[in-house]
Amino acid sequence: MAAVITVRAPFAFMGRLVSSRLHKHCCSKVQAACLVYRPHSYSLIVGQQHRFFRTSYVAARPILSFKLSDIGEGIMEVTVKEWYVKEGDKVSQFDSICEVQSDKASVTITSRYDGIIRKLYYDVDSIALVGKPLVDIETDAGQVEGPQEDVVETPAISQEEHTHQEIKGHKTQATPAVRRLAMENNIKLSEVVATGKDGRILKEDILNFIARQTGAILPPAPFQEICPPPPASVAPSTPAVKPREKTTPPSIPTPVIPKPVFTGKDRTEPIKGFQKAMVKTMSAALKIPHFGYKDEVDLSQLVRLRSELKGLAESRGVKLSYMPFFIKAASLGLLHFPILNSSLDENCTNITYKAAHNIGLAMDTNQGLLVPNVKNVQMLSVFEIAVELNRLQTLGTSGQLGTVDLTGGTFTLSNIGSIGGTYAKPVILPPEVAIGALGKIQVLPRFNHKDEVVKAHIMNVSWSADHRIIDGATMCRFSNLWRSYLENPASMVLDLK
């Protein structure tokens, strides 16, 4: 149905008025331009009386109703469960259109035509009837409406091209447009490498095939004179080639490498979930003026101690790593430097010294960064800390950490060295005021007190602290104390609470 209005408009002004009215009158169903009015052509003859002719472009593109075909087993109706397309989407033949369900069978309905979806007849969860229209597809004029049966084998349209050779028993899948292109270029579909879904041959595959054959990229004739002649056609065209060869240097024709076309596209996604949490936390951390302090710790004695205790811990059913020692040593240090275990209020008017040492542990999971904390480390033994760590790690990997484990921390340690790295610049997690990042343990040569070079297990620690309430000297003394506990684990025994 086309809106057809003839107008006689002698003046430019009238013409423009008419065109805006015509657009309003155009019926929405006719997607092609209903009436094309070119003001430019009119303005040339302004002032003269002029009968102007409409160029109406009545829908040359047929809209075909794609009916829901027989599913089998005498089923007359199904429930539409999910649409994979919406109105206005472009579909190719064999693309999935929707998923319907009937009697425990889930059926994928695929498109019979190439074209644009114009109407969906059902909403999700409504009942669709077999034999009634499911979608309307606007197709190219060339496509013929196929048989009403849902096409199982290759469609009726392409029957004349029995160049649908069978690749190892499979009929090649390609849309009629692609088959036409192949036929025009005398290409056997079985020789083309398919890159489409389900082994379908796409137009790009045909073009790539041709490019490889001729060493040049289509398009047509004018270009071929510029490019060197393909090897196959050298013989017949020798008379034409000779005069050219006199002028060009006698060398191997430079290969024309088809310029690779980069088809990658940028992808934008909203920030949500774990990332959103990190954005929120780190943006708040920006307000804290950080300073960094790095040092080196000789863990040789600790390494020996841990290897002795590992077996004992395992017999109690617990995996013992170095972290429980680092955490306990930090807690012992915090007893002497409670300002590192404090919190500054929003207006920076009060400091709250937290009584409990809830030491957080940065954990890397496949979704992102999680920081659960071990509560009341000041009351726990190294073994008990190891038990808690095991529990938190299990919960973390199985996605069961709750808000209680994830909040309430007062100080944090990040063992980035377990993945790699030496020095880091960790970001303080509000409302805390300090954080430490532990690098990897490396075996390095060091001088001992006898001036001999010995093997030492060296780890680097990088602290960050809130410079509004913590000064460098405090951080340094805390770090020295922490270090001394770890370099000489026996001294921890003296101060253990």
Partner: protein, 372 residues
Amino acid sequence: MILRLSNRACVLSGSTRFKSTLSTYFDETGKAGIILKSASAGIYENLALEDWIHDHVDLQNRSVLLLWRNSPVVVIGRHQNPWQECNLPLMRRLGIPLARRRSGGGTVFHDFGNINMTFFTSKKKYDRPRNLKVVTSALKALRPDLDVAATDRFDILLNGHYKISGTAAKIGRSSSYHHCTLLCSVDRSVLSSVLKSNASEAIKSNATPSVPSPVKNLADVDPTLDSDTIMEAIASWYNNEFGFDSPVITVDPTHEALMPGIHKMTQDIQMWEWIYGKTPKFSVCTSLVIDDVDVKLDMDIKNGTVEQCALEIPEDWLPPEMVKELTSTLHGSRYCPEEAAVLVAAFMRTRSLTADVAEKIHRLCEGVLSVM
């Protein structure tokens, strides 16, 4: 490619002939019927194997039977809602994973005592009653006194009352598959506890509901019936019924060279967006009692993500602006307790809260997370 052929069983390994895939191997043997057995007990690998065979093997002139078993897992149908169908918190505690298959139907629990059978055919030859006849005939051949019969809902009942098998199917453009379970010696206490949702009353949804039925194991009526015997019987009756003569071929679903593209299919079917994200739109509406305070929770979830969240809380218990901020934090979060906990933790970090307010928020969140 075939390593050894013994007792009508053989193992496929594509190590030497890289050009051949499983489907070309079938074409070369020229058999009209093929019986396969999966070497894997991983649900995602086996579901991917089903998809691969459906997509890549030419089923127009050939039918395939695939036999497979899995370690404990709950499998929901294509259009179902896992929060409505099973007890997710219990499954997380027990370490039982969740999978969503591509066929329709209801929710089932698999473990090693359950046999899965998939009958692949062309769309024209899709015939579920005939496939079930293979199963019932096989069982009757093993134990003639066994009272097993298929119903018109395509279940198989034992003694006319207990369900021992459920069916689901997937129909594509030109081929289809019908698969069903068979309870031989499944752990029934685990089955009944995981298949009972902890939050179904709170959920309003149009997802396909499961129809619960009383179940029994074949081993309960005859302890000598074990899975291997039954699988063999089914394989030979499949040959009988359809006139095939295929041996049982073991296939390793992780073998990418043999089945190109299967690795990606296995990855895709494990993604959160498929397992949880494909749940049809639903809403959650429930009342929680926290510290003797009545809290009403309303959430709309689409694609497994919270689109809309509202909490009705008495103003004197928590300030309304804080409640509003808390609910907006949850917008766009996956309907998943871990993600919600992380978002709430970030919310609490970036706000200065007094100890008792923090406590209240903890308990409130615990209540909200318990329905996820």
